[in-house]
Symmetry: C2
Subunit: 197 residues, 2 copies
């Protein structure tokens, strides 16, 4: 039985929803914003700022973000982003040690790669389904859904590569990769539960 | 219910064994060498030659192969390899139309990509497990298992790209990708059956 399930996912693939459903089916804890809140608490930065750090890839950013990153290095000789990443890494390790949990995103697949009791899952989908989903879930924006998806993918790719040295979404790094458009969200959840047992 | 299951796999991942097991569990026909034999029958070439064509990527090849490909173009203005690929494509379409089957390799995932009743699966594994497996299944050779695996992967990649224009083993092209080293062969088979239902 796998104690820890990490779910990495493309934006708009429904990976978060699948993760929630898996946690429900297995009676596991579900960690997503929980992690950001804990990092915020320990670091003194706002959750919104942490979120921003977790996705920064040269995109337009807040004043605080610009200030915090303008002076690249803090006293410790480490950038603010790096410090926050290390904080996040500690929190993810602590949560995993509690066992019985599903963790979405945040490089958890890499951070927990050595755990024998962890199942690492990647959820992908196709552009059309993802575009449809983000408009349903987050509404229309000035930017086209396709552009929003491309930007988000790029941010996740850069962030992941920067902290793990691995290619984001490379099949090799996961026990299973599921296409939610082809299988449907519920079937994806059922398959993950079966694989975890 | 999915009528047709295509299984693409890395050499040494146990994909063929998983496919056989899935066919057994679903009471489906299992096509692998069957396809080569039919191509051989229709083309007049030997099965060994067809196999060779199906994997040619500049590696050392038989006299017949050299002769057949030296004069690049046949009367039809098409290379021997291309003709054999088209023959194989027809046979795979015919077999899929019969329904209730598992087809391993041979670009079937691409050839049948439009079928709504097809489930496309990719089986990967890690180098260590694959090396161990090919020595168990096919014995030791002068070449190291790692070198044999690298060559086979390269052949499949080149052949697949040549005929499909797609990248071999790209997650996007499959409904599910399973790591047989992480999950085990039986669990992979069980998951595929569940996804097919």
């Amino acid at each position: 039985m796998k104690n820890v399930i990490t779910i990495s996912r493309e934006f708009g693939s429904g990976g978060r929803t699948i993760g929630k459903r898996v946690a429900e089916l297995l009676g596991y804890a579900f960690y997503d914003s929980e992690i950001v809140n804990q990092v915020a608490e320990r670091s003194g930065f706002s959750s919104a700022f942490i979120e921003e750090c977790g996705e920064y890839a040269g995109a337009r950013s807040s004043l605080l973000f610009s200030l915090a990153t303008a002076s690249q290095y803090t006293a410790g000789g480490m950038s603010v982003q790096d410090k926050l990443y290390l904080e996040q890494e500690n929190i993810i390790r602590e949560l995993a040690d509690k066992g019985g949990c599903v963790i979405v995103g945040r490089c958890a697949d890499y951070i927990l790669r050595e755990r024998k009791d962890a199942l690492h899952v990647f959820i992908c989908s196709d552009m059309e389904s993802r575009a449809k989903r983000i408009v349903e879930c987050y509404g229309k924006k000035d930017k086209s859904p396709e552009k929003r998806l491309a930007e988000k993918d790029q941010k996740r790719r850069v962030y992941y590569r920067n902290y793990t040295g691995r290619e984001w979404g490379a099949m090799k790094n996961y026990s299973l990769c599921l296409n939610s458009a082809a299988l449907g969200l519920e079937t994806c959840a059922q398959i993950i539960v079966q694989a975890a047992k």
